[in-house]
């Protein structure tokens, strides 16, 4: 896509904004619609659009496949670990009250923030992994054959 100057310039401008918006949706999810699922997808979009315009090699330099792999697992572990912390606090699994025993409401704020962060990490990883998996498949037949 070397000759698509407009696309390349616009993409460069957009990527930063998309990432910023993803963080907003992620961390403002407590007070307004949003959260890990949506933020993860938005975050992944930034990488996918970069990959579409500049090529798979370029985006994989920034976000290597092995990192995507680890992110998938890491997000799930963050989620599970949040719950396990409550077990050690002598409470039910995923009882966020453990993060602030005297003000359970504050604990719930912390808990949902961490859990949603885990969700965000995994969803970003999954969406990018799906894109990589399909895009990095070497085509064995020409486009006309399809």
């Amino acid at each position: 896509m070397r000759h698509h100057l407009i696309l390349r310039v616009i993409t460069k401008l957009l990527v930063g904004t998309i990432v910023l918006f993803a963080f907003y949706v992620q961390f403002h999810g407590d007070f307004s619609p949003g959260g890990g699922f949506q933020a993860g997808v938005i975050m992944a979009v930034a990488f996918i659009i970069y990959g579409i315009v500049f090529g798979l090699e370029k985006v994989q330099q920034v976000f290597p496949p092995w990192l995507v792999h680890k992110m998938l697992a890491l997000g799930v572990l963050i989620y599970a670990a949040t719950g396990i912390v409550s077990l050690f606090g002598g409470m039910h699994y995923l009882d966020y009250g453990v993060f602030s025993p005297h003000h359970p409401e504050h604990g719930q704020h912390w808990g949902i923030l961490i859990v949603e962060f885990g969700v965000g990490v995994t969803v970003t990883g999954v969406m990018v992994a799906v894109y990589y998996a399909f895009a990095s498949r070497p085509p064995r037949m020409s486009d006309e054959e399809w």
């Binding site: 007070f31 307004s32 619609p33 699922f37 799906v130 998996a133 399909f134 498949r137 064995r140």
Partner: protein, 145 residues
């Protein structure tokens, strides 16, 4: 039932009618189409119909978006829609995405191995394999079996 109540019955349940139409459309595509990608499209339409069913359940007459104000100053007169079905369907959407991605990934592999994504071709190829296997089996066992 006079005509006006019939009309109300029809319009009042419009999202359910659409649910049924979508569901049947999706199911028909899954069953009737031989192309594997089209089957996945059908499956998606079928699942989307369920999302619609759930979201229709969540709607409360005159209800607004179920988001409390930041200061938690809740006006008792405000009616909120039921947020639970939306949450459930968020999960179902994620499941749907995972299914679609996995289905498409399988199709890519099928295309690589069989050279086609048409059911007819693949059935033919598989029958060919089965014929060869049986041929080999008959030769190996003689006429005993």
């Amino acid at each position: 039932m006079d005509s006006s109540t019939t009309w109300e019955f029809f319009v009042g349940h419009v999202s359910y009618w659409l649910f049924i139409v979508l569901m049947m459309t999706g199911l028909y595509i899954v069953v009737a189409k031989g192309n594997f990608v089209k089957k996945i499209v059908g499956l998606n339409i079928f699942q989307t119909s369920v999302f619609m069913l759930y979201i229709s359940i969540g709607k409360v007459d005159g209800g607004t978006a179920p988001i409390y104000p930041v200061d938690l100053n809740i006006d008792p007169d405000v009616v909120y829609s039921n947020p639970l079905p939306h949450v459930l369907i968020l999960t179902a959407i994620v499941v749907g995405i995972a299914t679609t991605a996995l289905g498409l990934a399988l199709i890519v592999r099928i295309r690589e191995e069989f050279g086609s994504i048409e059911e007819d071709d693949i059935v033919e190829i598989e029958q060919g394999i089965a014929r060869d296997e049986n041929e080999r089996y008959r030769n190996a066992t003689g006429n005993r079996a």
